[in-house]
Amino acid sequence: MNTILQLQHITKGFPGVKALDGISLSIAAGEIHALLGENGAGKSTLMKILSGIYRPDAGSIVVDGQAREFHSYNDAIAAGIAIIFQEFSLIPYLNAVENIFLGRELSNRLGLLSKQAMRRQAQAIFARLGVEIDLTAEISQLSIAQQQFVEIGKALSLNARILILDEPTATLTPSEASHLFSIMRELRQQGVAMIFISHHMEEIFEVCDRITVLRDGQYVGMRDVADTDVAQLVEMMVGRKLEASFPPKPMRLPSAPIVLEAREVKLAKDSPANSFQLHQGEILGFAGLVGSGRTELALAVIGAQPAWHKEIRLHGQPARLGDPADALRHGIGLLPESRKAEGLIIDFAITENMSINNLAKYTGHGLISRKRELAATRAMMAKVGVKAPGPATRVGSLSGGNQQKVVIARWLNHHCKILIFDEPTRGIDVGAKAEIYRLMRALTGDGYSIILISSELPEITGMCDRVAVFRQGAIVALLEGDSIHSSEVMRHATAGKQ
């Protein structure tokens, strides 16, 4: 095989984590190479290094037998590497031709744009891909799939010989995806090498030649598609990990009452209907890939995002949850996915962040008693273990773990007994993770009920009493007891069929 790209012993660390540890990889011309791994395995970091966005701490990139150093994305493009990002980089109000030539427009002798020449070149590229794109339409008028084809066309117009496709099918319908695959096969015929990142096993088996598996920033192995199967790949991805210290799971009481029941929750008219029950004192996991609809379902249940249809019962009584304020009144609290964007008011001190939905507690005759507020804050900080100079410390200066505890404290200070934790340990160091896990278990012991949304398999298997596995917007499996196993969760979340 004619190797076009080689990565040799690539290592990259970020403060506190080793994102990549001596990864080697070689890609041949005319090959579609899948990169497989859980969230946090290091795929995105590796691709960012390959496209010049990050620089490796050690290791080298060899293109066509020549060692290269990329200082920016432009260097990568010059070496013939192009990346199709998950979030498109197209300007929505320009058409396909204008987007393809953005920043390197062709001009004639008068210094004016030669629109004809650019249009002809764009036509030639799309002919090569075998797709029809309305060149006069604004990008925003095109379908997501067509936009992706324009991205690919743009990459080809830059003479890219190595294309990186980062979860390109995540937003496509099945028929659009198969159109994409036929384009990928066409490009393979023309000798273009592709690195394909996807979580969907069936896609990988449909279109790829070889598969490299990463886990926790380490190279696990490489397989030919013909020589492997889903079970083996899942085993490679999940492996045995250094488990974080999870507190022991208590015995489940079958008689525990149902505190929250969601029936037939549909986000849109023709989206799947999901139902689930939450028992008192349990941790119910929402597992699945990023974008599988876990957060959306939780937000729809508490009314933070609209639902087409939903039926909610709390302690057996029907309840109307129209917005998060309704949910709060009924005792449901949310720890949002993004601490900084949705959880905290970063300019506020710990006190103000904690008491934002608690002010009535400290208010008499319309005025807030600062003294009572501070006293309550100190007590809560001690209870959940926020480490900070004092209640007046700005939350922006706290570590991720302490920030998360501030958001948790906000709800514990309330009458809330049902908590939704959305990726509670994302970006938090190991020690703080263990503290949050212990806190969660202590809460369930006190009669709290928790929904844990997590993309980290060990967290799901280590913490949850029951697990609902999501795939493409639907709950596809409900696991309990011994069946809560990494590979079982992964199998339901990715392939479904084997």
């Binding site: 998060p324 949310l334 949705e342 970063i346 300019d347 103000e352 934002i356 002010l359 807030i368």
Partner: protein, 335 residues
């Protein structure tokens, strides 16, 4: 500025309770969002005192206070709007509408108390309208209030036919020209409005929510605060302070002027921003706004006393506003 250096050396080697207390007060003051605006006000005042004769005379200072009162009152509502992450461009027009309406109703023979109430109610109603479109129809504040700015002005012109409404009852001049125990009424009204706003913003839940919405609206909503309701209240407040300012101005002129208050929204925004409030919301203080308004007043007053041409005055004021905002932005980035 020598002072900070002096005081930090004091706090490093404490010599007594008084100097320690002074140092603590100084660090507290330095942390306050109104600190830089205060320095700015001092600098501008010193500059004016150095170049004019009677700047620090009590007559002139009272004069300045009265001149800034109307802008300062509007700036209170504007502060709330900007702190919550929005803006209210309609205030100048709402002033004109409430002023002419109150004047018209009084001339038509309505009991004066009732006329004043009607004026205030219309101002607040306009604010509620703004708030409805912003908070519930989710339209951008700048667009909504730009539209209602035109509507309020148009209503004022329509109501008056474009002519001022004169012959107001004599006692009505109390609000603009009268005094209570020697303090001129506009200054008194201004102080009252500021005290109420201070308590509201710093000591009530509504005030906390206003800052929180400006700081991170989504986080505030997800924590269970009915954000839309409080945003509506913010614009109602802004309409209310514009109406109060409109009444004071009408009383001062003893005439309901349909063309009053043109461009006042810009002065109010300038006062708020020069007072150290972030134009993106979430950070700032009502005390800072008062200082900002006085700073603008001192500039106007001093430049007039120096006999600087009005054309040049605009340029100087613009440059100083730019400078003030540049300094406060850089300092907020550092913190």
């Amino acid at each position: 500025m020598q002072q900070p250096v002096n005081n930090s050396s004091l706090s490093a080697t404490p010599r007594g309770a008084t100097s320690q207390g002074a140092a603590a007060l100084w660090t507290l003051l330095k942390k306050s969002p109104a600190f830089l605006p205060l320095i700015g006000l001092l600098l501008v005042s010193v500059a004016m005192a150095a170049t004019t004769d009677h700047f620090f005379s009590s007559d002139n200072l009272i004069n300045i206070a009265r001149q800034v009162s109307i802008n300062a009152i509007i700036a209170v509502g504007m502060s709330c709007a900007i702190l919550s992450g929005g803006i209210d461009l309609s205030v100048g027009s709402v002033m004109a509408l409430t002023g002419t309406l109150t004047a018209g109703l009084m001339v038509a023979g309505l009991p004066p108390g009732l006329a004043i109430m009607a004026g205030l109610a219309v101002g607040i109603a306009f604010g509620v309208g703004n708030g409805f479109f912003i908070a519930y129809a989710k339209m951008p504040p700048i667009i909504v209030t730009l539209a209602t700015m035109g509507i309020a002005r148009g209503l004022a012109l329509l109501y008056t036919g474009g002519y001022p409404i004169n012959d107001l009852p004599d006692w009505f001049e109390f609000f603009g020209r009268g005094n209570v125990l020697g303090v001129q009424t506009p200054i008194l009204v201004m102080l009252l409005v500021f005290i109420v706003a201070y308590v509201l913003l710093d000591h009530t839940a509504l005030g906390r929510y206003i800052y929180a919405i400006g700081g991170n609206e989504e986080a505030t909503r997800l924590s269970g605060v009915r954000v839309s309701r409080y945003k509506l209240l913010v614009y109602a407040l802004s309409g209310g302070t514009a109406a109060i300012a409109g009444l004071v101005l009408t009383s001062r002129l003893m005439s309901g002027q349909p063309n009053a208050g043109v461009g006042f929204e810009l002065d109010a925004i300038a006062a708020v921003v020069m007072g150290g409030t972030a134009i993106t919301g979430g950070r700032g203080s009502i005390v800072g706004t008062l200082i900002g308004a006085i700073m603008l007043g001192v500039l106007n007053n001093g430049l007039n006393m120096m006999g600087v041409s009005p054309y040049l005055q605009n340029i100087i004021k613009g440059v100083i506003i730019l400078l003030a905002i540049y300094i406060s932005r850089n300092s907020s980035k550092r913190s």
